[in-house]
């Protein structure tokens, strides 16, 4: 029983991180109709940068309790890389989607070598953060406090995002642009600025996700691609363009991976790929999505 | 499925008590009408009356919630575009729908290749297929596009693109052709030219009946044998133009109902 709870909490932790990335993807797709094949690269970027940030913090003698907020801030900062990338992407907005895939694939390649150059080819880990937060008793089992904090942080970010989109003026503008770009422009909205904002926020969600996850797993070159498939699985299961779908999809994928790891580790990624295929056969539109493209 | 031969008594196609509901919204209520050989039928009605839905049901794109659609006596509910083309009914759309990078000749060849079942063998030659090429030229001729055969579709004028769209529907040698606002987006001067070309071409191509959805009542009056008027999803009238235009209530219902809504 405790093992099951362990798996569930582990899966939820992973789901919390995955949700952030998927939310970023959904946001960008919902507003700009772009699929960012380099979304995994931002995730990896956040992870690597997080390691560097924490490493520097330790040298500067920062109290370990601040590591989590530090990771969030590091993620947000490095997410700004999205701005110049969006600038380049602008050239292919009105063109066929194949071009988006090609360009973001080019970025993916460039990121891979950037990681290799800055952080080397071997996976990097960060051991001290978990120790800093210790463990807690939750539902009768011992669980790393860090995991619980991340789940809470992720939910908080989700709430903030939701409130932003629903309640603020900028959020309304974003939604209007998503519905109909040309009409929004006709009403005086600067669509370019909206797109830049949305894309950058989307990237930041990815980088923060990567930064938050790295204490529990390693930052590696494979992360970028593994995540593309994983977040794709989340989007497929949840449905393209739906935030609720991102949440549910993330939970399902996260739990499934946790199960696979505990039962049959070699099947970890395989199980994700298989779920994607299964969902596409059985329910192509996903749980909350409109018809598949 | 072989297209059945057209006889004078069997209607080319007919709808029998067709209703279509989308959730709670009833788009079509109990529509029955038929089209026979050598008829030109116009479907008219204000926006939202259900014209497009009716055409979608009639062309097998949507399944009716109740009722039947029959083509040459055969039930065609929900057959889909490819099967529809095989059965002998083809459709041209309101918004110009072309293959931008293909030439006029190639565009027509696509339809003819489908009709002649040429696409199953990947090693056949397209250029050396005399029958296919001759047919493409014939259809282009009939619609006045002969001189444009080797022009790329995207470089044609708007009117020419419209004609090409219709031509590709013709190229399927249909028994019935459905046109969705064939002259929309075309200047008034050209509208009549296109209609004349259409009617003459249909005769030359052996098309047995034309059904069009049209807003321009002048064209409707001039060219139709029968008018099918829809309002709010119901069949308002099914009569010859003379009778239709003699009745002011009819005209008001179709053209001027906005005030009532």
């Amino acid at each position: 029983m405790t093992e099951l709870l362990d798996v569930i909490l582990g899966g939820t932790f992973h789901a919390a991180v995955l949700f952030l990335v998927a939310a970023g993807l959904q946001l960008v797709f919902g507003v700009q109709k772009i699929v960012n094949l380099a979304c995994g690269s931002f995730y990896a970027l956040g992870a690597y940068f997080g390691i560097t940030a924490v490493g520097a913090a330790i040298k500067l003698g920062m109290p370990p309790a601040l590591f989590l907020p530090l990771l969030v801030v590091a993620g947000l900062l490095v997410g700004l890389v999205g701005l110049p990338i969006e600038r380049v992407l602008r050239t292919v907005y009105r063109r066929d989607e194949s071009y988006q895939l090609l360009i973001t694939f080019g970025f993916l390649l460039m990121f891979q070598d950037t990681f290799r150059y800055l952080w080397g080819a071997t996976p990097r880990t960060m051991d001290n953060v978990y120790l800093a937060y210790g463990t807690a008793h939750f539902l009768g089992i011992r669980v790393p406090t860090y995991n619980l904090l991340v789940i809470a942080a992720s939910l908080a970010i989700a709430a903030i995002l939701g409130l932003f989109l629903e309640r603020t003026r900028t959020g309304r503008i974003v939604r209007a642009t998503a519905e109909n770009r040309d009409m929004a422009e006709g009403l005086g909205v600067n669509a370019s600025k909206v797109f830049a904002l949305v894309f950058t926020v989307g990237c930041m969600l990815g980088t923060v996700g990567g930064a938050l996850v790295v204490p529990s797993s390693a930052a590696s070159l494979d992360m970028a691609v593994d995540l593309v498939v994983e977040s794709f699985a989340v989007v497929v299961i949840g449905g393209l363009g739906s935030m609720r779908g991102a949440l549910v999809g993330a939970l399902i994928v996260g739990l499934m991976r946790a199960l696979a790891i505990s039962l049959m580790p070699e099947m970890e990624m395989l199980s994700v790929y298989l779920v994607v295929v299964a969902v596409l056969i059985l329910r192509p539109a996903g749980l909350f999505g409109k018809a598949a493209v | 499925m072989q297209p059945q031969p057209v006889t004078a008594n069997v209607p080319l196609f007919e709808t029998i008590n067709v209703s279509k509901a989308f959730g709670g919204f009833k788009a079509l209520s109990d529509i029955s009408f038929s089209v026979r050989a050598d008829e030109f039928v116009s479907i008219v009605g204000p926006n939202g009356a259900g014209k497009t839905t009716l055409v979608n049901v009639v062309t097998g794109l949507l399944r009716p919630t109740s009722g039947e659609v029959r083509f040459l006596g055969r039930d065609i509910s929900g057959v889909g575009p490819v099967e529809l083309a095989r059965l002998g009914m083809s459709r041209a759309f309101q918004l110009v729908n072309i293959f931008p990078a293909l030439t006029v000749r190639e565009t027509l060849a696509v339809a003819i290749a489908s009709r002649l079942r040429r696409a199953s063998n990947p090693f056949r030659s397209l250029k050396r297929d005399g029958v296919l090429q001759a047919d493409a030229e014939r259809v282009a001729d009939v619609l006045g596009l002969r001189s444009k055969l080797d022009k790329v579709a995207s470089t044609l004028s708007q009117g020419e693109k419209k004609l090409l769209d219709i031509a590709s529907a013709f190229a399927l040698n249909p028994a019935v052709i459905l046109l969705d606002e064939p002259t929309s987006g075309v200047s008034t001067a050209d509208k009549h030219v296109i209609m004349e070309v259409l009617v003459e071409a249909a005769r030359a191509a052996g098309i047995r009946a034309i059904v069009q959805v049209e807003h321009d009542m002048d064209l409707v009056e001039r060219y139709s044998h029968r008018i099918v008027a829809l309002q709010g999803g119901s069949l308002l009238a099914d009569m010859a133009p003379r009778a239709f235009f003699a009745d002011p209530a009819m005209i008001a219902a179709v053209v001027g109902t906005r005030a009532k809504l």
């Binding site: 194949s98 390649l109 298989l274 | 729908n97 072309i98 080797d150 529907a169």
Partner: protein, 336 residues
Amino acid sequence: MSHSSIEIAPPATLRRTMSLNGIGVLLALIVVMALLPFVASPYVLLLMLPFVGYGIALLGFNLLFGTTGLLSFGHALFLGVGAYTAAVFTSKLSILSFEIILVVSALLSGLIALLIGALCVRYTKIFFGMLTLAFGMLFHSFLYKFYAVTGGDQGMRVLRPLLLGMEWRGGKTAFLTGPFYYYTLVLFAGMGLAMWRITQSPFGLHLRAIRENAGKAAYVGVEIFRMRLSAFVISAIYGGIGGVILAVTTGLADPELAYWTHSGNLVFMAVLGGSGTFAGPAIGALAFVMLQDFVMAITQYWRFVMGGILVLLVVFMPRGLAGTVELLLSRRGREA
């Protein structure tokens, strides 16, 4: 949607000459390669062999991408299938006949494509790209993890096959730059001619119609699913055969052949050469092989350079090398 086809499709004025250009360019290239052994060093010739393998795979890839408009990010899967077939047959089953290996690779690739394609081609664009990416990685995962069967990350050896039943008793380089070189060139020419026929057929026309406007295509009787699936299967067969050639050249079948970057390389080659032309992708393969060789010699961060080049290509030169040349020629033709 209509924008892309205008950008990658050949300009109108050049269409008539295109029918000679396409296969003509490819055959001319092959003739030049046939004459190479008289002037070039074995190093250059060995570099040419992967180009032939990729060239064949790309002929197939471009049927899917350039002609039908489906961008696959998992195409290297079929290269892997071909490579591992060669490995299993030569080192595990001791069947050394190259012809048998080719046929089995083709059949196996086609069969796998039939199964995968039945799911994938129901979707377009993004979903298709990601689905094929997922399947490619699924295969890679399988090759990597099931060590006992596939040799895991060590890969599986590919022994020297018998060409037309004949055994070569000399050295490896002599084999690869001699009889194998010419055999593969003949294969390349043959498969090129077959692909030319395919693209010039009503079948090919239907594929292009699907690329241009799938909705309208259905209305003029094009069986979209069946056509796309056929294109997928044919492209897979070409991929499998390309993979066999690659594997025999290196003597090894390894899981990285199916990794996503390898699929990405194929896409890169097609775009570099010009996916709107017949011979473009093959030219792209040649350019890529030489470019990669050159860049790798200068820096270990060749992925960064190649990625940057891809981005620049898409932004500034989406027609690729061959496509841009064609465009320039047509402009000159119009002015003349």
